[in-house]
């Protein structure tokens, strides 16, 4: 089953030149809506309590950094894991194929929050039982929360992207592989020169959507005491008893993050020639 495509634009509109943007924004009802939104923003700034913001700004910065690090690290490592996961599901021997399929199904069929708690509380409790682990150098890391958050995010990304890669490997036209064979390439050469690059190429357009989904998963690490942006906002809410302001601030930050990410990924996508 294909994952829901939620970020790619419905139909790629003509390139947004500054002039076109002006035309789009210049329609009368949009001007009115924009003015309404703006006045709402001004009212929010004046009527709501933002006194906590300067005091927490450095902490929020650290939290944002943690969120971004979690995102980037889990996407990179998860993608590297997704390649073999996708590959063995298409061309592997049956025990490997079976294992990879079971892994992807199990991870995609259970909530990420549960996986995170399973790793943090479950594995954490198991590790704590072994004096050998407690005495080793690794304990410094295993005691902390972020490795578990990172692991859970990575596993999740690997499973979802592994499914995408499976489709990508399976979708490379047979003719291309046969052509490579006809040229006398060895199996490894075919993989390295044709199959692998073509599969990654086919998977790229969905990567942007998966990365946005991954950004939206990162605040879950706050539930296992990793201080990301969401956790800092939770601290603010507990310290100030404010309901609306910190949450609205968080929504605004995530809107900006998603927007910037979408723009950056689109720019990146346009640099990769699609050959069509």
């Amino acid at each position: 089953m294909a994952e829901l495509d939620i970020v790619s634009p419905p139909s790629s509109p003509a390139a947004l030149s500054p002039k076109r943007i002006l035309v789009i924004l210049g329609e009368p009802h949009r001007v009115v809506l924009a003015l309404l939104g703006l006045s709402g923003l001004v009212m929010a700034i004046h009527l709501m309590d933002w006194a906590w913001l300067p005091q927490y700004l450095p902490k929020l910065g650290d939290g944002l950094l943690m969120t971004l690090m979690m995102l980037v690290a889990s996407v990179i490592v998860g993608f590297l894991l997704a390649l073999p996961l996708g590959l063995v599901q298409v061309g592997g021997i049956w025990p490997l194929r079976w294992l990879a399929t079971a892994f992807c199904t199990a991870v995609r069929g259970t909530p990420l929050l549960l996986q995170m708690w399973l790793l943090y509380y479950g594995l954490g409790a198991v590790f704590a039982q072994f004096p050998e682990i407690r005495g080793s150098w690794a304990w410094d890391y295993l005691r902390q929360a972020w490795p578990y958050g990172f692991l859970a995010l990575t596993i999740s990304f690997a499973a979802y992207e592994g499914e995408v890669m499976r489709g990508a490997f399976a979708g490379v036209p047979r003719g291309e592989l046969e052509a490579a064979e006809a040229f006398g390439m060895s199996r490894w050469q075919i993989f390295r020169r044709v199959w692998f690059p073509r599969a990654v190429h086919r998977a790229l357009p969905t990567l942007a959507g998966e990365i946005i989904l991954q950004l939206k998963s990162t605040p879950l690490v706050a539930t296992i005491a990793v201080t990301d942006l969401y956790a800092v906002i939770t601290q603010v809410r507990q310290a100030t008893y404010l309901t609306y302001e910190p949450l609205l601030f968080l929504v605004a930050v995530y809107l900006c993050l998603s927007g910037l990410l979408i723009l950056a990924l689109r720019w990146l996508e346009n640099r990769v020639p699609t050959g069509q």
Binding site: A106, P111, L113, W117, L118, G122, V126, Q129, Y244
Partner: protein, 241 residues
């Protein structure tokens, strides 16, 4: 302490926690089903508004779907759960009624439904656009009103196109219910955590909860695939790949 699982803890009756887990599981299913249905209703109106609505309606719906798709579900759930219940009780006080306390289940269904609604809007919009315009025009030509066209022609005709997306949304809904654990609604994930915290058998309870979620996913998958095949039975098979 050993790591061997003590399966006696999963017994249905009180020394075991099986009952707690199953009640939590049932509450998760209720939440997912309620939110999913609400999402479908929002989605149908949202899609109709995006396709046939006025300029202002279209822009407002665009903002709704954009915000929901760009902001993490956890944040949205927190926002809707606290702000939504706060606003509702304030409104009822302002109107002279007594403070209403919205129970967790309704609030949870509302929250999941609002999130699902944004995605369902996109799914239905795409599906409606896949219906040949001639069919809808023909219905108009027969003198049907807009709502009648929607009910008799557009919705049934778009169903096969919407089902794959709707199946995905159901999977997302079942998994999103876990996020309500964060606001203290005791569905399956929170029930598992409570049981695990009380007995220190973390692995056992989280793995059992995972197995329940997985069973739900796998069973839903089989049923949805069957429904999908049935809905597509009249369609040209070239689109089935």
């Amino acid at each position: 302490m050993t790591t061997v699982f003590d399966f006696g803890l999963l017994a249905y009756d009180p020394p075991g926690w099986g009952r707690v887990l199953l009640v939590g599981f049932w509450r998760s299913i209720e939440l997912a089903a309620g939110g999913y249905c609400l999402g479908i209703v929002i989605g149908i109106f949202g899609a109709a508004g995006k396709l046939y609505g006025g300029k202002v309606v279209r822009d407002l719906l665009e903002i709704y779907t954009m915000v929901i798709r760009a902001v993490p579900e956890l944040v949205l759930i927190l926002l809707f759960y606290y702000v939504g219940t706060d606003l509702l009780s304030r409104a009822s006080v302002a109107l002279g009624f007594s403070r209403v306390d919205i129970d967790g289940l309704s609030a949870g269904i509302m929250v999941i439904g609002l999130v699902q609604g944004a995605y369902a809007t996109e799914v239905f919009r795409g599906a409606i656009r896949a219906v040949p315009t001639g069919q809808i025009e023909a219905a108009h030509a027969f003198g049907m009103r807009g709502s009648l066209v929607m009910r008799r022609v557009t919705l049934p005709a778009m169903l096969p196109h919407a089902l794959p997306g709707m199946a995905n949304l159901w999977m997302i809904a079942t998994k999103d219910t876990a996020l309500l654990a964060v606001v203290g609604f005791s569905e399956l994930t929170l029930a598992a955590r409570q049981a695990a915290g009380a007995t220190r058998a973390y692995l056992l309870f989280f793995l059992s909860a995972g197995a329940l979620y997985l069973a739900l996913t796998l069973i839903s998958n089989v049923i949805l695939r069957r429904v999908e095949r049935r809905a597509r039975r009249g369609l040209v098979s070239a689109r089935q790949q």
